[in-house]
């Protein structure tokens, strides 16, 4: 593979849910659903802190609150693309990270949700750069973990 110094890595996470695609899609877009799962373990995202303006250029903002000490982590993103019920793309202006959620109907009321995170404000947008990133860095991370404390 050619040297791709213009681009950066991309992380991919996927999970299959026992639910119809349209419902999983709405969960990722509607504050009434997001409040149930947006904060990771030990962190809540109160409904009143979630702002969703579901259109390209619209804001997606949340405040995650640490359950134990009350510290607040605001997040700020802007929607780039919303294709119901297939895809949601937002970008975080502060970090330049672009997150793409893809919803795949597996049949039998099962849906695969794939999250791709690209950390490439400049080089990423060209099709050539995109083509180069079939790799996912998290697999590399897992591999290095297997190598263990040898480094």
């Amino acid at each position: 593979m050619a040297d791709r110094t213009t681009g950066t890595g991309e992380l991919t996470y996927a999970r299959v849910f026992d639910a119809p695609r349209e419902l999983v899609f709405r969960c990722m877009l509607e504050p009434e659903h997001l409040t149930h799962f947006w904060g990771p373990a030990g962190v809540s995202t109160p409904l009143e802190t979630i702002k969703v303006d579901a259109r390209p250029g619209g804001v997606f903002e949340t405040v995650m609150v640490n359950d134990s000490d009350g510290s607040r982590y605001p997040t700020r993103a802007v929607y780039v693309e919303i294709v119901e019920p297939e895809r949601i793309v937002w970008t975080e202006p502060d970090s330049g990270v672009t997150t793409t959620s893809t919803f795949r109907d597996l049949g039998g009321e099962r849906t695969e949700l794939q999250i791709r995170q690209a950390n490439a404000p400049a080089g990423y947008r060209s099709p050539e750069a995109r083509a180069g990133f079939a790799t996912s860095l998290d697999r590399f991370a897992a591999y290095l973990e297997k190598l263990g404390g040898s480094r």
Binding site: G9, Y13, V24
Partner: protein
């Protein structure tokens, strides 16, 4: 953008290439000379040197000045910074997925709430 974020960007850029990942994986097992690093690849020494320069620029590897063969050394702290960023992201999404899974189960157990899901919000 902070210095730390700049370095993180550079680290991810460096790691976005399979040859450089292979070099890093090799160095994770111990220091090696350019010749040793080049051996598994169908690549010229200048080709390998280019990759090493990219890795050196972001601080992932260092080369000692004094030894004759200038062995390459993996800087674990720089790699750790990149890996912990990845780990943190992975953890957040894993936990979100876990909670979403639970939420979807709740929604589907109570079909009356399925339309909006507002009653327990």
């Amino acid at each position: 953008m902070t210095v730390a974020e700049d370095r993180l960007d550079a680290t991810f850029t460096a790691l976005a290439d399979p040859t450089r990942r292979a070099i890093v994986a090799r160095l994770a097992r111990g220091d090696a000379t350019v010749n040793e690093l080049a051996a598994p690849f169908d690549m010229t020494l200048p080709g390998i040197s280019k990759h090493l320069k990219v890795l050196e620029r972001c601080g992932l590897i260092s080369r000692t000045r004094r030894a004759q063969f200038r062995p390459c050394h993996l800087e674990g702290d720089v790699l750790d910074a990149a890996l912990s960023w990845i780990e943190e992201n992975r953890r957040v999404w894993k936990e979100r997925f876990d909670k979403l899974d639970e939420h979807l189960r709740d929604l589907q157990r109570a079909p009356s709430q399925r339309r909006k899901g507002t009653t327990d919000g």
